[in-house]
Each structure stands twice: as structure tokens, then as C-alpha cells.
Amino acid sequence: MTLLSFLPAGFLDSGPVQRALVTGAVAAVISAIAGVLTLIRGQSFAGHALTDVSAAGGAAAVLFGAGPLAGFLAGALVGGFGMETVELRRRSERDLVAGIMLGLGLGVSALILGRIVSSGSNGGAPVTILFGSLFILPPGVILPVSICGAVAVVLAALFTRPLLLAALDPDLLTVQGGSPRLMRLVHLTMLALAVAVSSLTVGAILSTAFLIGPAATATRLSARPGRTMALAAILGLIAGWGGILMSYKSYDWTDGHAWPVSFCIVALIVAAHLLLPPVFGRLLKPRQKG
């Protein structure tokens, strides 16, 4: 009770806040799992590029009057599988293809958002898509968000070990009778789910923060994959909820002018990345020999 009394009056009773807390939590957990895998694969840029392709999907969904979540998800899936079809022999080429997809995604977003703005129906759409709409989520959003979260968690539980093995060395997985290609597709699906839900939370452009930030911090704190994913999920959760609270309270700090929730969440994620590893790195991670 003492802990809860720290919260602003009515914070937990507010419908928008409840929806923000649930969505933020789901985004943090899926992004943490997908993010650790993405880092092991060295695909930060591809993960980031997906967010911009998913923005085009979100914009299209808004244009046709649908909820942005389905659009974000469809965009991320199309972008991910599009990147997967290009044959790539080198890491630098993969980054280039990610960049090309990103430019394409932003270009298409520009086209659609331009149409939305000029039609005058929804002038705030660009900001909603690009920087998130956590406090204005409609009540019906909880169910699809929860389904996305459940699918990602089930996929992770089913495939954790082959996913990790495929990320570390695809040949090792092949030798053991697994399919690296299938694992790439599972990883892409998880990535798309993570990008879609966090685009809803902090916006398409900043969902990279959820994906890469906590995972990068966790990999510097722990060397064991399972523990790294759990740690990343906890860090993401703290940053997500902390950011929501911070944004809510900032209304009082700067006389009636709230800070954007996406800024608050990203600020906490980056602060954690800068501060935690130097302080706790030696404590949690066994020192390497030699």
C-alpha cells in the first residue's frame, strides 16, 4: 500500500492508463525475446528497418479506417519476408537490403500519410504512427495485443533452443537435424509481433528502442541466453511502466504540459543502458578467464 500511494491518485483506475500498462508490458516482453535473438544474429539494422516498413502498414490501415495494429503487423511481416527472399552472402549486403527496405517503407508511409493529412480527416495520424499513441488506445485493443503477446511467448517457449542455435551457427542446427530456414521464419514472425506491438506503444520509429535497448543492456549483464532474455524483459517492463508513470506525472512538473510517453520510455531505456552495465556488470557476469 505504501508503494501504491506513491502513484498519482486515480492512476490505476483510469482506463487509458490500464490499456497503456498492458500494451507496454506486452511490447516489452516480446521485444526483449526477439531483441536478444536479433542481437545474436547481428541484425539490429534489419530490425530497425522493419519498424519503418511496418509504419507504412500502420498508415495504410489508418487510411482504410482499420486499427493500426493489424497494419503494423502486416507491414512488418511483408517487410520481413521480403528481406528474407533476397539472397544475401554478406553481412554488409544484408544491411544494405535493410536500408533499401527502410527507404521504401518510409517512402510509402510518406505517400499514405500525405493522403491522410491532405484529406483532413486525421491530422494527427503521422504522429500517431511514427511516435505512438499509448494514451489514446481504444478499449478493444487489449485482446489483439494479448493474442500477439501469447503467440510470441508460445513460439519462444517451443523453439528457444533451436532459435538460439540457428542464431549462433546455422550449420550446427542443420547437423542436429533442424531447419535454419524455419528458425529464420519463426524469428521474423516474433520480430514482426514485437515491432507491431511496440509501434503501438512508442511509435514505429522508436520501437527500435524497445527491441535493441533492453536486449543490449542485458547481454552486457549476463552471458547466459535464457537469463539474458528474462533480464531484458524485466528491464523493458520497468522502462515501459516507468515511462508511462513519468509521462503521467510530468504533467505536474512542467505546468500542464506532459512529456511524450515515447520520450520517457526511450529515456529510461537509454539511461539503463548507460548506467547499469558499468555498475552491475562485474557483479552479475562471471569474469572471463585469460
Binding site: R89, R90, S92, E93
Partner: protein, 266 residues
Amino acid sequence: MDQDALRVDGLFLSRSGRTVLSGVSFALAPGSFCGLIGVNGSGKTTLIRALLGLLPADAGGIEGAARGHRALGYVPQKIDADPYMPLRARDVVALGFDGHRYGLPLPSRRRRDRVAAMLAAVGADAFADRRLGDLSGGQQQRIFIAHALVREPQLLLLDEPLANLDMPSIAGIVSVLKRIARESGVTVLISSHDVNPLVGALDRVIYLAGGGAVSGRPDEVLRSGVLSRLYGHHIDVLRVHGRLVIVPAGETHPIAPDEPHVERLE
């Protein structure tokens, strides 16, 4: 005027805090074809980087006529040529000529002729206008040798140029290098973990092991007694079907007396 192309005296080198070479000495005569032999991790690359001036010595000195980057040609261990990079074999050699210069490359007859001459010298005329990344490993190796030679260095340093090549390519590269050493008076120092592809061609062997080195003519160095003293335990040098096999016999064996210990098992 130095008599030796290169003289190394009591050289100590370390890498990330670990001593790799302790007290290595040898000298290379101008125009000689020398092999730097040692197992992986024996310090071959470290020594070459020090000779290039990329790694400071902890102690000891490197002297001789072939000092400074102008006098040195270098072929690194592994260049991962990108097949998507627009760069012809000819362009790679031209970069050896003036790639270190700032500003645009103005057309120059001198550069064009030097590059053409080098491509011919390494036997690369046939693929001079192909993209580097499309060439085979052996072809790429010839191009990098031409790149290193085009500024007429006194000493050519090659770091494991024969690794990952097939047998015909290896024979081709070795004969190109041998000819260059003989005809143009360039001193060639080539590192390799296996002495066999080189042993017939070498004027001199520098054998690295356990942080130390022995150097001399191949028949002086590749002997059981000499290598046993270097390793500090018994080493057999066997000749099997014309190949040299260097076998550590375990540390419990006493060091062999310095007898002609090249056994024949044919």
C-alpha cells in the same frame, strides 16, 4: 649502405599483454627467398606486423636497408574481397602504386605501364580486367602480390599467402615469388604453417616456436636436433614420401643429440 636487407636483433614482441616473441634474431640477405615457418599462434603475423612498423617492439631492434613503408611490400593474411565491390584486378594494382595519395588519380602513362608490367610479372594478364571479387583465391593472391610489388619495394612480406589454395595455385605462386626474388633482387619473406610447399624453393628458413627462432639454410634448420633445442623437447623430423613431417614426440623424451636426424622411411 646496409649489407642485409633486414636485420632483427633480440626482438621482444607482445600482443594484448602476452609476450609472443622473446629474443628473436635473424638477418635476410638482399634478393633471398625466405620462409617464416611456425605453427598457428607461434607469432608469424605478430612478427610481420612489427616489421611493417604497425606494432612497436618491447625490446630489441629491426634494422637494415628495407625499413619504412616505402621499402616494404605487404600481402595480408586474408582479404575478404566483396564480389559486389566495383574494382578490377588492374585497379587493385594501381592502388598499390598510388592508393596512399590524396586527390584524384590523374591519367598517368607511368602508372599504366608499371601496372601492366606488374600484372604480366605475376602472370595475371588474362584476368586483369575482371572484377577482383570474381577471381579465384590463387588469382586474387597473384593480384595482391602485384599490388605489393608495384612500388618496387626492397622487401616483400607475405602473411600465409598459400593457406586455402589448391596445389596447382600454390606451385604457381611459389614459382612467381622465386622468380621475382631472383630477377629483380627483391627480398621475399613468406610465412607459412607448412614448410613443404616451400622447402625446395627457400634460400633461408626462419623457424618460430615457443617464442624463439632459429634461422639458416633449410637443411641446417629442419633437423631434429636443432628443432628439439628450439622447442625444448624432442622433435622428430621425418621424411615420408618426399614430404617433411615435423612431429613432437612428447615432453618426456630427452632432447636428441645433434646428429643428422632426418630419417628416411621410404
